[in-house]
Symmetry: C2
Subunit: 338 residues, 2 copies
Amino acid sequence: MSSFDYTIAIDAMGGDNSPKKVIDGIGLFLKEDKSIFFNIYGDEALIQNHINQNKSIQQFQYKIFHCSTKIENENSVRNAIKVGKDSSMWRSIDSVNKKDSDLVISSGNTGALLVISKLLIKMINGIDKPAIAGLWPNFKNASIVMDLGANIDFNEKNYLDFSKIGAELYRVIFDKQEPVVALLNVGSEEVKGHEELKNSFAKLANQKNNFIFHGYMEGNQIKDGNVDVVITDGFSGNIALKTAEGTVNYITTEIKKIYSSSIFGKFCYLVSFFIFREIKKTLDPRKYNGGIFLGLNAPVIKSHGGADSLAFYYSLKLSAKILRGNLLKKIKLNFNNE
Amino acid sequence: MSSFDYTIAIDAMGGDNSPKKVIDGIGLFLKEDKSIFFNIYGDEALIQNHINQNKSIQQFQYKIFHCSTKIENENSVRNAIKVGKDSSMWRSIDSVNKKDSDLVISSGNTGALLVISKLLIKMINGIDKPAIAGLWPNFKNASIVMDLGANIDFNEKNYLDFSKIGAELYRVIFDKQEPVVALLNVGSEEVKGHEELKNSFAKLANQKNNFIFHGYMEGNQIKDGNVDVVITDGFSGNIALKTAEGTVNYITTEIKKIYSSSIFGKFCYLVSFFIFREIKKTLDPRKYNGGIFLGLNAPVIKSHGGADSLAFYYSLKLSAKILRGNLLKKIKLNFNNE
């Protein structure tokens, strides 16, 4: 395996249409990048069957680890931990724990992935809880928003830690030396918000940071792209993310309804076909696929359960960037340990 | 004034393009509904000047109360209270306090409007804090979402009170006897969320309500319209609202960019002109203009500061509905006082 830069552990069984979409996603990735080795966990016969249908994987090296079970989305986290030790998710996470892989990626149950990762990979010394970071498209490119739902109760230390971690992540993904970090709030004045937020604001404003502290920002400013890293508690962050997803779905569905409700509408759709293709490409959420669990001793990537092979490919690209950028080491340096 | 059903106090000076948009909005309203009397507060000369240019108002009765100052959006709330006693906002709120008007509407500074309303009109016995409710479009019609930002710290009693109040508001606006009420959370399982939310869930699930309690819901489900009243704390609610606004702006801007970036795009736009007009009409946010402050001894309506005359007209229609539906009496009955 020495000819490979990094090894990624793949939970091939999570999410819709797995393992097919996972295998096809790896196939897309390997067409571009041949220096990552894949440890693939799941039902060996099924995986092998899909690999046999995918030429771009067949040419390369990989290893399949047969797992007799998988953790279902309906499994409660408690249940998943109890019965999941032979599952593809557990064993792919454990391969990172055992240093057989450098990063693990799964499309499965988010709660189980978070808890098993914390159990096996453990937190970085000095960080209390993991956070989920995600890419959020904006007019300029994309921001990082975190936490997207791992931490319902949030304290001052979380805001401060996640500001540092988010800045490191942005630096690695977008190669910008001084990212702009802001705290998501209900107004931009200093007096707004709850106590934890105000205390965090005061600390960040008065200490030396390795990023530019922008202060507070509001939800409608994420789109502008003037802030690179948006820090919020997991409760508001999750609600903001899902509300935004729902809003996109609402608008696109209403627009589609109007085009399809008349012959003239259908005609306009046909005429504008290439424009629609361009719009779909621009607004394609698959480009931003991949929730990044941060604060653990290795990167854990959650691909969207409903994502297809192209979306899975994007989360693999993100994973490779995180590994090549040496994110873990950079985060650890912020907490004085390596 | 006895020939009128109700009297609305108008702060004519708040928001962009006031008092013109306010006067024109009243003009649009009076074309349809002639049984509301308006007490108009603000700069008399300016107001009279705009009325002179608006035929539909001239035919009707109204009263202008000259106010020498106005509260600016930049005013801090503390400052607004100190210097604002002669302002159009203060005096229009006070006219409700003095029973000269039944409801007050303003496009001005939200914080000042909230605090001065609480100061003058006071809370209904048994309700701790006011909440801001708003209409949120969905596939079926519209939901009510509250609180949209008045209460940053939220306790169990707030969730329970606002569920009742929100249900009364929905009944009055949409004439549905048993509205469906849900608590906004980060998942739909009972174990999710923070303590206040879980306790509120348990109470609402086990007590008799005058609405259907749906349980928890997530941000991406608001659009579906299966829930009529979405209850959330003011922090998450405000972030959800503004993030949704930002998302709408992001998508529509990106689509416009694509249409205008090529000759072919511009051609498609021209061909599809009527389709675009229909889309704009369907997605027009002006139809949902009007934040409703609830829990006070009279309804207070906040029109969006950037709203135009048509949006102001919609908030007047909403105001008339609230008055005709006798919302205040219905809310008070829930708290055993009249």
